[in-house]
């Protein structure tokens, strides 16, 4: 496309001056474990992360949430950690497994409409469980690994599970790395899943906390099931309630034995550490852990979506329209252009997600903001609007969402979102819009080099996905190379000609009669009082 010369001069914009580089040393152990080291001696600390190439997407049928539950169990100790007397413990753990298996089976049996309820049987087993648990608890030393990391000042200590991978991280003072190597290799080689059954309840509480009591999360969870009929990305990483409740310790152990192998693990160490020392340390502690042959992953491919799908939910939440289209996986040649399309629609800065601006959805410079939220000619119909492309190891989705101005109907929002997406094919991004994306990529790269844990996460993400940490940098170059024509093509292919999934989240607040204006405490049972407004 042609643009005036003057504009060209202005748009030359941030070039790439003395771009900061990053040196990653990669070392692969004989057992297949990959280690990435970045020497950054500015602060006397090191960010550590272990990433296992297994996540929610690998959960077998009927066991959704197993990758995540396993992540929790990895903090429960080993043959020599977290237990005062391992020999005494063994028969107790066996006994507990028997009792819980019996209880789970009995609960399932009694749930059948043809079975007779027998609460006494359940109570009997529960009593036995309580006794054995109390006995076992005398031997357990709680969360020793966690405590030990705290003792040496560990920060950001945690773990997380997503659809594609599971990661364990902690930032440590630089002279505590040997302790880290000892713990992490020990729990990879010799974990013991003690206190499993109470942890299973903890995970169910996590689900209640993050999903069941959060209307927006419920809506998102349901949308995921709508856009995928068959591919396991449709299942929540935390798992469906009955799958969590019914998972056995043996099943989690089996899953661990299959996937937690050195050849399925990548480690990153970023900070004040010499690569040679890091390699020697990891060789010493992880080198003797045998590799395991990996099974072929049986991931159902999503069949092509035919026709549009719709969802309507009425919840106690701000109304919202969400539209999703199936797209491609990370690494697919069309992924960068889809990413640019979403950035042109969303923009950056301005009215962000937070209370006072900043980042987040609904930036002040995207097309959606300029059309739906703050059109130059006057009031908009939405208070937020954003788009994003989410790819993963498997095909992802392009999603556009908007929150209406209070009182605004959802139909007009839907129409406007679809129109704006289609317009991107008819009026592809201008050079100015593309320059903003490129500049954001360049500045984002520099900013990402400010944080050790940030670098660790980014190189692991790339190494896990592409088998090469350099993908971190290359992907940015691919996004920067996207042309207006590329955007037009992918918008036409995946969005305009594709089938959308359209979700309406309708609020329960009905316009009309005012409700109770309570606020001050009243006696139990009394109707909502009047008075101050809270």
């Amino acid at each position: 496309m042609t643009i005036p010369l003057l504009a060209l001069a202005l748009l030359a914009g941030p070039s790439t001056p003395d771009e900061p580089k990053i040196d990653v040393v990669k070392h692969t152990l004989k057992n297949g474990l990959r280690l990435l080291v970045v020497e950054r001696p500015d602060s006397p600390t090191v960010a550590t992360q272990l990433r296992f190439l297994v996540g929610g997407v690998d959960d077998p049928k009927g066991q959704t949430g197993i990758a995540h539950l396993l992540e929790h169990m990895m903090f429960k100790g080993t043959e020599t950690m977290g237990i005062a007397d391992r020999e005494k413990e063994k028969p107790l753990l066996d006994r507990l497994d028997e009792l819980w298996t019996a209880l789970d089976a009995e609960v399932e049996r009694q749930r059948s409409p043809f079975a007779e309820a027998n609460p006494a049987v359940l109570e009997g087993i529960k009593d036995e469980i309580e006794k054995a648990t109390a006995e076992h608890r005398k031997l357990v030393v709680k969360d020793e690994l966690w405590q030990a990391y705290q003792r040496v000042g560990g920060q950001r200590l945690n773990a997380s599970t997503n659809q594609d991978s599971t990661q364990y991280y902690v930032d440590l003072p630089k002279n505590q790395l040997e302790m880290w190597a000892y713990f992490e290799s020990d729990r990879l080689a010799n974990p013991v899943f003690r206190e499993y059954y109470s942890e299973r309840d903890v995970v169910h509480e996590e689900r209640r906390l993050r999903t069941d009591t959060q209307p927006q999360s419920k809506f998102r969870e349901t949308m995921e099931t709508l856009i995928r009929a068959a591919h396991p990305y449709r299942n929540p990483v935390v798992g469906w309630p009955s799958d969590i409740d019914g998972m056995s310790r043996a099943e989690v152990l089996e899953y661990f034995k299959t996937f937690y192998a050195p050849n399925n693990c990548i480690i990153a160490l970023v900070g004040d550490v010499k690569a040679a020392d890091a390699i020697a340390l990891v060789e010493k502690y992880f080198g003797s852990i045998p590799s395991k042959p990996q099974p072929r992953r049986r991931i159902t491919e999503e069949p092509p979506m035919e026709g549009e799908r719709r969802l309507k939910m009425k919840l106690d939440a701000a109304p919202q329209v969400a539209i999703s289209w199936p797209t491609v996986a990370e690494g697919h040649p069309d992924a960068p252009a889809l990413s640019v399309a979403s950035r042109v629609l969303t923009g950056s800065g301005g009215f962000g997600g937070g209370r006072f601006g900043g980042g987040g959805g609904g930036g002040g410079t995207g097309r959606l903001f300029k059309r739906l939220v703050a059109p130059p000619e006057g009031r908009g119909i939405a208070i937020n609007a954003a788009a994003m492309h989410r790819g993963g190891r498997y095909p992802g989705v392009f999603a556009a969402t908007a929150t209406p101005v209070p009182g605004q109907g959802l139909e007009e929002i839907e129409t406007a979102l679809l129109a704006e997406v289609e317009r991107l094919a008819k009026e592809p991004p201008t050079e100015e819009e593309l320059a903003r994306v490129r500049n954001a990529i360049d500045a984002g790269w520099v900013r990402s080099l400010e944080s050790n844990p940030g670098i660790a996460g980014a190189i692991l993400e790339a190494e896990a996905l592409a088998g090469d940490w350099k993908w971190w940098r290359r992907e940015r170059e691919l996004v920067k190379a996207v042309t207006a024509e590329d955007v037009k093509r992918v918008v036409e292919t995946y969005l305009v000609k594709g089938s959308p999934c359209i979700g309406w989240l309708e609020g329960t607040r009905s316009p009309g009669s005012p409700r109770g204006r309570g606020g001050r405490p009243t006696e139990a049972g009394a109707p909502g009082g009047t008075g101050g407004v809270r």
Partner: protein
């Protein structure tokens, strides 16, 4: 030299006696985590390195302090590692300064500074330019301070500085952007009761703090209607004056040259106007009792609370360690161990005891648990609070709390921006520049006896507020067993509320 002295402090104190070697197996009546450890632990402790001395930022070393003639103060520091610059203004402004007819105005001032444009820049043009520069401009206004900051590539530093000066000195408060901000606020008001955590936080604070305090009030249709552009301008003018502003300059620049550029951008900003009076200190009173917000959910959100202490309290170091042992130290703390690990009742079970505030905040023990175990969870929290006072504490839990605090300090201020920000903040708060060093020494000096004594002075189990958001009909009996239940019905607003307030409802 420094290393040796810190090791000495740590070594000497950790070896000090006074901690109970106790029965590790007990639950219920026993005081908490014991000293039992595994064989693996012994191996690990042999691998443990010595603590690395933390860096305590100092004026002159970590930042140069430059006062301009108009009262504006700069804290400058070169950081050449990456081609970035960060400018952050810290301003004496906040919700605590709102007059009754201005409630809510401070928040809108923040939004308008960020989005309302300037004399030179129309709002959309400014956002487009910032996007082109890939610059982050952000504004935050809290209770007693506000920040306006910009960060961008160092090659664009001058333009970034010019934009920052425009936003701070010549904001335009665009009416269209104000209307958009109000429509967003309207949406938040309509949905203020969707999320149990939000209800709990707001309604619990409203029990302890009056409307005159920002913690005790929230946005209403009436306040929204009354937050006019004129009021926002007036509030801005009272606070945004050079003598109320400090600016941190950190990044890839020549320090002397950059200071001159800042002088050029801000030096001619005239000082003057009424000085800002020091804020009063509000001391909340206990509100013992059982309070319920009825909402149909499958999980209850629970807080046990009472007023806490402020940053001037001599107990603050002992209270910090006490709270780490009680429920602030994640998996090493008693509440997490019992409620989550032992009984599987919650994903999140913890306590917080803020010790850094100008005013005392609330001590809280919180948990979210399924409806059926609501009563049990409250009982466990209460028991753990009481046990903290009864003492003793085990050597293991004491050492973990203390070492976690001391060994972890090496992560504080480990980036130049953080060190400069910290120095600026301490001066703003009227605190000594060596406060971090004194905190380190203070925590080093805490003994187990001091922790128990601090628990007795600063925990008040007899005066706890038990606050629950949950399914009333299912949990009321459990709650009634703890005392008379006061139901709180949070205010609800709908479009009619906005019409009544003169906002013409929705579009």
């Amino acid at each position: 030299m420094k290393r040796a002295s810190i090791q000495f402090v740590l070594g000497a104190l950790l070896a000090a006696g006074g901690v109970a070697q106790q029965d590790p197996h007990g639950r219920g009546l026993a005081p908490g985590r014991g000293d039992l450890h595994s064989k693996g632990w012994e191996v690990a402790m042999k691998l443990k390195g010595a603590p690395i001395p933390p860096r305590f930022p100092e004026i002159g070393k970590d930042a140069r302090r430059i006062a301009l003639d108009n009262g504006l103060v700069l804290f400058a520091r070169e950081d050449r590692r990456l081609p970035l610059v960060q400018f952050e203004a810290l301003v004496r402004v906040g919700e605590r300064y709102e007059r009754p007819e201005e409630y809510g105005v401070a928040g809108f001032l923040g939004t308008m500074l960020r989005t309302g444009g300037t004399e030179k820049w129309k709002p959309q043009d400014l956002d487009d330019r910032l996007a082109f520069l890939a610059a982050n401009l952000s504004v935050g206004i809290g209770e007693d301070s506000g920040t306006v900051s910009i960060d961008l590539l160092s090659k664009d530093a001058e333009e970034g500085l010019a934009i920052l000066a425009e936003v701070i000195r010549r904001p335009a408060f665009d009416e269209g952007r104000l209307e958009l901000a109000k429509r967003r606020s309207m949406n938040s008001i309509l949905h203020r009761n969707d999320n149990p955590g939000q209800i709990l936080g707001r309604e619990l604070n409203a029990l302890f703090f009056p409307e005159e305090h920002p913690s005790g009030r929230s946005m209403t249709p009436k306040r929204l209607a009354e937050a006019t552009g004129a009021k926002i301008r007036e509030f801005y003018a009272r606070h945004f004056r050079p003598e109320n502003v400090r600016i941190a300059l950190v990044g890839d620049f020549d320090e002397k040259g950059m200071v001159e550029k800042v002088r050029a951008a801000f030096g001619d900003w005239p000082k003057g106007g009424e000085p800002i009076a020091p804020l009063p200190k509000f001391e909340a009173k206990p509100r013992p009792g059982v309070f319920l917000v009825d909402k149909e959910l499958n999980q209850s959100s629970i807080s046990l609370a009472h007023p806490g202490i402020d940053r001037d309290n001599p107990d603050r170091h002992a209270v910090a360690l006490m709270n780490a042992i009680l429920g602030g130290g994640s998996f090493s703390s008693r509440i997490t161990e019992r409620v989550r690990s032992d009984e599987g009742l919650a994903y999140s079970a913890r306590s917080s005891y803020p010790t850094g505030g100008r005013e005392p905040d609330l001590f809280q023990a919180t948990v979210q648990t399924k409806t059926a175990t609501t009563g049990r969870a409250v009982t466990l929290l209460e028991e753990e609070i009481r046990k903290m006072q009864a003492g003793p504490i085990s050597k293991n839990e004491f050492d973990t709390a203390k070492e976690s605090a001391l060994y972890g300090m090496v992560f504080r201020n480990d980036r130049p921006l953080e060190a400069v920000r910290r120095l600026m903040r301490l001066e703003f708060d009227g605190l000594r520049a060596d406060r971090d060093r004194r905190d380190f020494e203070g925590i080093s000096a805490v003994t187990p006896e001091a922790v128990v004594a601090a628990a007795n002075r600063n925990l008040h189990p007899e005066a706890l507020t038990v606050f629950v958001v949950g399914d009333g009909k299912a949990i009321e009996a459990d709650l009634a067993a703890m005392g008379k239940v006061s139901r709180i019905a949070p205010a609800e607003y709908d479009s009619a509320s906005f019409r009544e307030a003169g906002l013409g409802g929705s579009r």
